[in-house]
Subunit: 218 residues, 3 copies
Amino acid sequence: MLTLIELVGIFFFAVSGSLMAARRGFDMLGSAFLGGVTGLGGGVVRDLILNQSPATFAHPVYFLPPVLAALCVYAFTPAVQKLHRLVQIFDAAGLGLFCMTGTMKALENDVNPVTAVLLGVITGVGGGMLRDVISNVTPDLFNPRDVYALPAILGATATAFAWHFDVLNIAVGTGIAGLTFVLRLASIRFGWSVPLAAGHWHRQPNIPNHGDGPRRNF
Amino acid sequence: MLTLIELVGIFFFAVSGSLMAARRGFDMLGSAFLGGVTGLGGGVVRDLILNQSPATFAHPVYFLPPVLAALCVYAFTPAVQKLHRLVQIFDAAGLGLFCMTGTMKALENDVNPVTAVLLGVITGVGGGMLRDVISNVTPDLFNPRDVYALPAILGATATAFAWHFDVLNIAVGTGIAGLTFVLRLASIRFGWSVPLAAGHWHRQPNIPNHGDGPRRNF
Amino acid sequence: MLTLIELVGIFFFAVSGSLMAARRGFDMLGSAFLGGVTGLGGGVVRDLILNQSPATFAHPVYFLPPVLAALCVYAFTPAVQKLHRLVQIFDAAGLGLFCMTGTMKALENDVNPVTAVLLGVITGVGGGMLRDVISNVTPDLFNPRDVYALPAILGATATAFAWHFDVLNIAVGTGIAGLTFVLRLASIRFGWSVPLAAGHWHRQPNIPNHGDGPRRNF
């Protein structure tokens, strides 16, 4: 059951990776690879830091969602782009699930709570960051107008508290993942933003960035 | 013997890293570093995922080819660039060798066949991808007009099948590496291409990408 | 005592990460994250290669300097920018310290001296490289007009020699870190440079690079 939800979460993360590949003019194999990195990368980084062999590589089934995502994007590119809102909703569900399960996995490995929260957040947001770094675009994670990391931090922190007070069960875990999901959707719906890194630069005019063109000329 | 071939493969991968450093206006030390990442990076990522200390760091001899490559590119830049075709041929030989040995090393560590193929491919193509990501250019691996990953996938898959049916010996391994090598050269010779990630975008005009200028102004 | 110096070194590395976040228009959370990557990334990569759980994640105290750095940059952005020279001085101190302690940690894990030197250099310069790669700018490490890697290589080599001849104690270690620090500052003061990767391209006119705009338009 949890594995099924996980696979669905990986699939929707992978769709965002394959859409990036489409937007940047990459090929089909790059699309599957980028989808895999987006869907599985956060968990792999977490497991490497926990000094474990990444769980992803233990079962071939985890590689199925990225392949499916690449095929879907290939077959229905315009439709998938129109379903942007739907992808965002499922991506938010994946974020909620992964930051909760990532924190749990870290806590099960006896790390300190601060590290567990950080590893939970990395599990949730790491794949998307790797997607952007590999695609040679600036990570959307740092976009002050897109509140993505904050719900993950809150969800991971709530998980660590529930674990500490020994009240983490399926119901509480589902509640935390749901809360993260709702917070993420609310941030999109109401246009929340995070303060800039530079407190005094708010009024500086934006300079166009030529680095992230929509399409790559090979 | 195998180590010698490996060192030659690392050297030619490293040449492509040092040529990238030359093209981007990096310094000598960056050239050696980028050569090392290109030649050794794929194997290091494979070993990290296998939760082993990277084999590369066990013998200082592995660091010799990148240093030699950086010196060659420094001393004979125009000549090395004219030998572009020769570099491609040796790079193809390295690709054939590394995707075969990478898959074998993964299988020796008792991973499932799908993961072994993936790790074999990563051993072959990972170094070049890291080279491009670190140099801040879009990975050439995703270029639909340059068929690079496909021969590696076929070579790694053939290795896994040969292993499964217990027929993998030196002759078969050499044959698989040779087949990968020939496929890669054929793809260059005949201009093969891989379908785009976006199936319906074929006719969209290319927009020039300003992100990957030939030379960096520090 | 050593931990205190280490925390100060991490803090000043992190300041350079948070300043990059400010320059690129990232948000506060991205600033803390990028500061953490800059301050801690080199050591994490070293520990992953040594096949150990990264020491950074064992104590929450290591995450304090990046948070403080992000707050400082947020509160006093123009002042921190004016203190550019001061940041460089402390960054040089961090470089001297980390390349020495990184080499020591590698040698304590029984790696060969060449690998130990390389891991020491990675400890010193890896965080800054990760900062640039994640921020989608060309790594400043490769800038021929900014001699950054060379003092680290010399410091790490001196540490390995002192270890080999069994004369590495607190005084010698401090001396080596101090020497690295002085070399780095001298390279800034006297405008030293490293030869280009391409030996014959010295006179080619620089082509402006559009890839690294000062500010990202999300």
